[in-house]
Symmetry: C2
Subunit: 334 residues, 2 copies
Amino acid sequence: MVTSRDVARLAGVSQATVSRVMSSATNIAPDTRLKVQAAMDALGYVPHAGAQAMKTRRARIIGVVVKDITNPFYPEVLDELTRELDRAGYRVVLWNAGGGSHHDALTAIRERAVDGVIFTTATGETVELQVALEQKSPIVLINRVVEGFDADQVASDNVAGGALVADYLHTHGRTQVAFIGGLPDASTSRDRGRGFLDRMQELGHPVPEELRFQADFSHDRAQHVTGQLLDRAERPAAIFCANDYMAFGALDALRRRGLSAPQDCWVIGYDDVDMASWPSFDLTTVRQPSREMARSGAKMLLDRLVAPDLPPQHRRFPCKLIVRGSTGSPAEGS
Amino acid sequence: MVTSRDVARLAGVSQATVSRVMSSATNIAPDTRLKVQAAMDALGYVPHAGAQAMKTRRARIIGVVVKDITNPFYPEVLDELTRELDRAGYRVVLWNAGGGSHHDALTAIRERAVDGVIFTTATGETVELQVALEQKSPIVLINRVVEGFDADQVASDNVAGGALVADYLHTHGRTQVAFIGGLPDASTSRDRGRGFLDRMQELGHPVPEELRFQADFSHDRAQHVTGQLLDRAERPAAIFCANDYMAFGALDALRRRGLSAPQDCWVIGYDDVDMASWPSFDLTTVRQPSREMARSGAKMLLDRLVAPDLPPQHRRFPCKLIVRGSTGSPAEGS
DNA sequence: GTCCCGTTTGTATACGTATACAGAATCGTT
DNA sequence: AACGATTCTGTATACGTATACAAACGGGAC
């Protein structure tokens, strides 16, 4: 391995000078700089990341924690996060699935292996997160949010989004409806459910217990649950799923039975991932600005790295109902 | 930050002893070990990753390079890679999109920021890869492969897979067919295309130039291209896409025109991603064992880290045609 | 010519850990 | 009782870089 000392020797300067050329400080004579750069090129010098990290106390790496990368929502978020962080000169380490991800990511902060972490799927492990926060660990929560947790958080207004769906169904006279949630301890599912169920109640169409389900955010569980639901005597007029991925499962359950939306049952999702607009699904859904949220979260974290004592920000993005073919009369659809 | 020296002081031993407890060498008196561990717990000691990396010359990080994480094939591969590498005690840094990904990943090796890299989308940038290889950089190619490149490589038998499709279409008398490739310099697309087109020719049904397309592996391009194709006077009897993601685009192009597979045109994909089996697509496709390939590639890399002079392995997995509803008479499906 | 100031460079050291080496302590063997 | 063998621990140093400090140098201004 070629070190800065080797470069120094070849260029006829001290190691410190080589280091200064790297950090491109201003106090370098132009010709010394050229000499050193020539030597670096000649030797193919590349600084040792670990050594730099040790001295500067910065790894230039950000961690991102995701639960199920197979859910198309997360690739979209990741896509945006990697772009944004890459542009800022940071690398991204990814934690996917595995119950221990949150813990591992926090450990990585303490090891100084990463400078900060973006959690997309925070839930109840608040204890450990809280401890980390008290040690001023740079942490940002995207998508899922933890009430009363004093860290930067970015989410969409899930309660309002859920209410949007209720209003829409009410307006179209679809009152006998089912709700399929994700995980009970995920703020997204909880808030969307609450916003939806509360508004339905207000509107005079309370959703009975036996029409409320949990399907852990996955396509397969949602397909299964919807299947059971459809096999009952009475079919609901609409199904609202807490994310698009489950809505796809609901649509698939219909198709498998030779039924379809919107003819036999309306289906509504949440997120508006790219796939939702594909003709195969043509899914009515609540759009949250996922990519913008990702960018915003990345920026918050980067800001916090330079100013650790910034007051924590809670940013909430508005949502919008996108009506497509899986609801409404076919004539209404695009 | 609490260092090993702090632990040493509290435990009343030398820093070296603390380090030895960490590496859990055998030569440690049981009670010293307990004392040290107690001190570590008391102080909440966590070793500094950068310092360790500098001394041991191992970062315990593996890089993974992916082109478009939005293509559902890659999340499946990533899912498996992260699991496997995580289990082996490695973290994963992800490079996504961005033309410079390959270069950045190779730089990271030279910076010793990562111990090795798994490329899933290698193409023609052989020059730089070749240089890296000559410096014995631990590199593994998964999925896409580069001819005559002396590194570990894992792929499926794409030529045979393409031929499978030709045989199948011939058997069912579908001879007027189109091919939609990905990128011309990707081995996957090239080999699948070659296997398919050559076999079609052998069988007496050469595919004319005007029925061969490139759609850069993306849903949207494939949908667009298929759209143009369908708007012609004569509709092909089948469309073979070089991956599932494009096949979904082809199906969507049909749907948008009120057409469908298999009635109006057969559609065949490649990969057999999870989504291919969803009732909404019900896609006939060539299954390659993506997850097994990912595991295999991860193991190759891990092996190479401990034995850098191992001869490079080229592993090729067989493929299998999975017939579903997007081809054949509906009766045949499911 | 002297003095002061600003620029540029070298010297020395620190970051936190791992490990070669040597010394101390323990044990069994003769 | 003396010896070597064995086990355990401490001392010292190295990994590769960044940076505080001091030194050297040159250029004006008087």
